[in-house]
């Protein structure tokens, strides 16, 4: 049991938990959409990437589609000045809300009665489209994202406990917890939240009591888009805004497996478990088998979990009636 005395162990634990929080941020977006529309939105990660790209674009005063426009002789890439961060964030929010509306009109409405697997594959297609459009609009090079969040190791913690913990990750944890609390309360106690849950349960019934599916979907995808923006900002501030951000979405899937697809708190707990599990496994077992186990550990863990509990820790049990 020596490892419990090793302060490094705790650093790993905390680092793992914080990484898990980052995963959870992406997973939250998934849960929202799934709760309200039964759709497994594969493009959530790309949405985060797109949101982050848009934010950086506004901040640095980029002209959208500049590269494409250069084909027609228009060679300017920047306006000359960017928007202040707060305005840029606001504009990005509007963009995400507008994007949500487009997605509802073009993709969701036509597919309204299809089974989950069709919708899932449609979101894969959507992910590709968004990726391409994001690249065309803002360029595919890596961008640095800075929204004024504190960065660097926390001196306070470093001095008192000798542990190296990034302030950025702490901010991310705080933000994530706030988000989860807000969303959980919203879903459980507000009229809109109830409407969302009604829609998730039964489209037809919800329609028959006067809930407009289109509006609900738009709201949900907008909220998801905002969550994606938050996730994109956090991830982007940490490691730069680049394509690999969308791969994080894939990592969010095991998070959902553990936490259940319909539970908001489950997303956090699942994220924490995955983040912690990954780091611990890589640190202790990784060296014995060559390392880089973080590429697959989360999925294996999720797979094992699914075998014993197909609905995740907090999800609703799937009962099939004949």
């Amino acid at each position: 049991m020596f490892f419990l005395l090793d302060p490094f162990f705790y650093e790993i634990v905390i680092s793992g938990l914080l990484a898990g929080v980052m995963y959870a941020l992406v997973a939250l977006g998934f849960v929202l959409i799934f709760k309200a529309s039964g759709i497994f939105n594969f493009s959530q990660g790309v949405l985060a990437l797109f949101a982050a790209l848009t934010l950086v674009g506004f901040q640095t005063g980029q002209i959208p589609f500049a590269h494409l426009l250069s084909l027609f002789g228009f060679h300017v890439t920047h306006w000359g000045a960017g928007f202040p961060t707060v305005i840029a964030i606001l504009f990005s929010l509007f963009v995400m809300i507008g994007l949500a509306w487009l997605i509802v009109q073009i993709v969701l409405k036509p597919l309204v009665n299809q089974e989950g697997i069709i919708l899932f594959m449609a979101t894969i297609g959507l992910a590709y489209v968004l990726e391409g459009v994001g690249d065309l609009m803002w360029g595919a090079n890596v961008k640095m994202l800075d929204v004024g969040l504190p960065k660097g190791p926390s001196e306070f913690i470093l001095d008192t406990t000798d542990m190296f913990i990034d302030k950025l990750e702490i901010s991310a944890a705080v933000v994530a917890i706030i988000l989860v609390v807000v969303l959980t309360l919203f879903s459980a106690y507000t009229k809109m939240g109830r409407a969302l849950r009604a829609v998730a349960d039964d489209h037809q019934a919800a329609l028959s009591v006067g809930i407009s599916l289109e509006t609900i979907w738009w709201i949900v995808w907008s909220v998801s888009g905002i969550v994606a923006l938050v996730a994109g900002v956090m991830w982007g501030a940490k490691s730069g805004v680049q394509f690999s951000l969308s791969l994080i979405a894939l990592k969010a899937l095991p998070v959902l497996m553990l936490g259940g697809f319909t539970s908001i708190p489950g997303a956090i707990i699942g994220g924490l478990m995955i983040g912690l599990g990954e780091k611990l496994f890589e640190f202790y077992i990784g060296p014995m088998i060559g390392g880089a186990t973080e590429n697959w550990f989360a999925y294996m863990l999720a797979l094992l979990f699914l075998l014993f509990r197909p609905q995740g820790l907090f999800g609703e049990k799937i009962i099939e009636r004949v």
């Binding site: 494409l68 036509p110 989950g116 069709i118 894969i124 297609g125 595919a140 880089a292 999925y299 999720a302």
Partner: protein, 358 residues
């Protein structure tokens, strides 16, 4: 007028179940095969071999494999890239371990190995369904790629981690390595595609195929009529993986000649093949071929026309391609979930009646 069905009555069950019930269809099919087998090789250049035909044959084979699993049996898999890797590395070990072994045997054994791995990773499908299963297959995808990166035995302890295909032959004709003749590799891969397409046709038209489709459409009802879900699902995984493994072995040994796991067998590969069967047509062998042709030829088209002729920069062409593929996926899922092959069938239906409107 030409494409007529009236008067073409079937008088036996055998003729009713034929692959090509219309005589004209049958003639056209064999004509195409004859041209493909005898005429094309005479004029084949290395460019056409390496850029068009080999990738088409190989991806078509992989697409048929995935279609068996996903289109016919309804088990969504995102692990196709990983399974192609299994086929590739198995063939590598066989080629390097048994230099005298004929390539046909190498490829078939590689397929067999992949089938076994497929069964192993297919076991979760007994408990998990739908897109939960799709996500579980990601586990196999990422794990396998990692495995072939880290487990040095698989690449013979080479320092670069890359595997290279040594020169080997099929019945005396060299089909792998740097000194192959285009017609040799072309016919070798075409032969595999033809053989496996035939096998796929036979399996899907009979009892096994029906058991797969029953599981796909309603697994509870399938049990009622006596289908053992374990046998049906595992057979789908095994046979599908066999196909994909063979494709992976050809992909590495005959086409690319060298491979490295993260690039050649990535998750993008898995998605590409999934897109092929969605666009081409789920549950259809012809659809797999059409989809493969589409996805293989699209970048070639973009490169030659948009970049070459219109002078559009490569990165814009690349982004546009990504957007186009994604948009087509969404389009097909909305408008025609049965893929291009459904349009093809409608077209043929209209042709049968032409020039009469009804």
């Amino acid at each position: 007028m030409f494409y007529r069905e009236a008067g073409d009555f079937k008088t036996s069950y055998k003729s009713d179940q034929e692959t090509f019930p219309l005589k004209l269809d049958k003639i056209l099919f064999w004509l195409t095969i004859a041209v493909a087998a005898f005429i094309v090789p005479l004029f084949l250049t290395e460019y056409w071999e390496k850029a068009i035909f080999l990738p088409f044959f190989i991806y078509a084979l992989a697409a048929i494999g995935l279609n068996i699993l996903t289109g016919y049996c309804g088990q969504v898999s995102l692990g196709t890239g990983g399974f192609m890797a299994v086929g590739a590395y198995a063939s590598y070990k066989l080629m390097t371990g048994f230099p005298a072994m004929d390539m046909f045997i190498v490829i078939m054994i590689a397929g067999l190995v992949t089938a076994c791995v497929g069964i192993l990773f297919g076991l979760p499908s007994l408990r998990i369904k739908g897109f939960y299963l799709a996500v579980a297959t990601l586990a196999s995808q990422f794990f396998l790629v990692w495995l072939f990166n880290k487990w040095e035995w698989t690449y013979n302890y080479s320092a670069t981690g890359q595997i290279n295909s040594p020169e080997r032959d099929f019945l005396g004709v060299i089909v792998t390595g740097p000194y192959t003749k285009p017609w040799a590799t072309y016919l070798f891969c075409l032969g595999f595609l033809f053989l496996f397409a035939w096998i796929a046709r036979n399996l899907t038209r009979g009892r096994i195929g029906r058991s797969w489709m029953a599981i796909r459409d309603m697994d509870i009802a399938a049990e009622i009529i006596g289908v053992n879900p374990l046998v049906a699902k595992m057979s789908a995984f095994a046979i599908s993986s066999f196909f994909v493994g063979v494709a992976g072995a050809l992909y590495f040994a005959v086409w690319l000649g060298a491979a490295e796991p993260t690039e050649a067998f990535s998750i993008d590969q898995s998605f590409d093949i999934l897109f092929m069967i969605i666009i081409g047509g789920l549950g259809s062998i012809l659809g797999s071929l059409i989809g493969a042709a589409f996805i293989v030829l699209l970048p070639v088209l973009f490169k030659n026309v948009f970049v070459g002729i219109l002078g559009i920069p490569t990165d814009i062409a690349e982004f546009s391609q990504i957007i186009l593929v994604g948009a087509l996926i969404v389009f097909f899922l909305i408008k025609e979930p049965h893929g291009i092959v459904a349009y093809w069938r409608t077209l043929k239906g209209k042709l049968r009646l032409w020039p009469f409107p009804y």
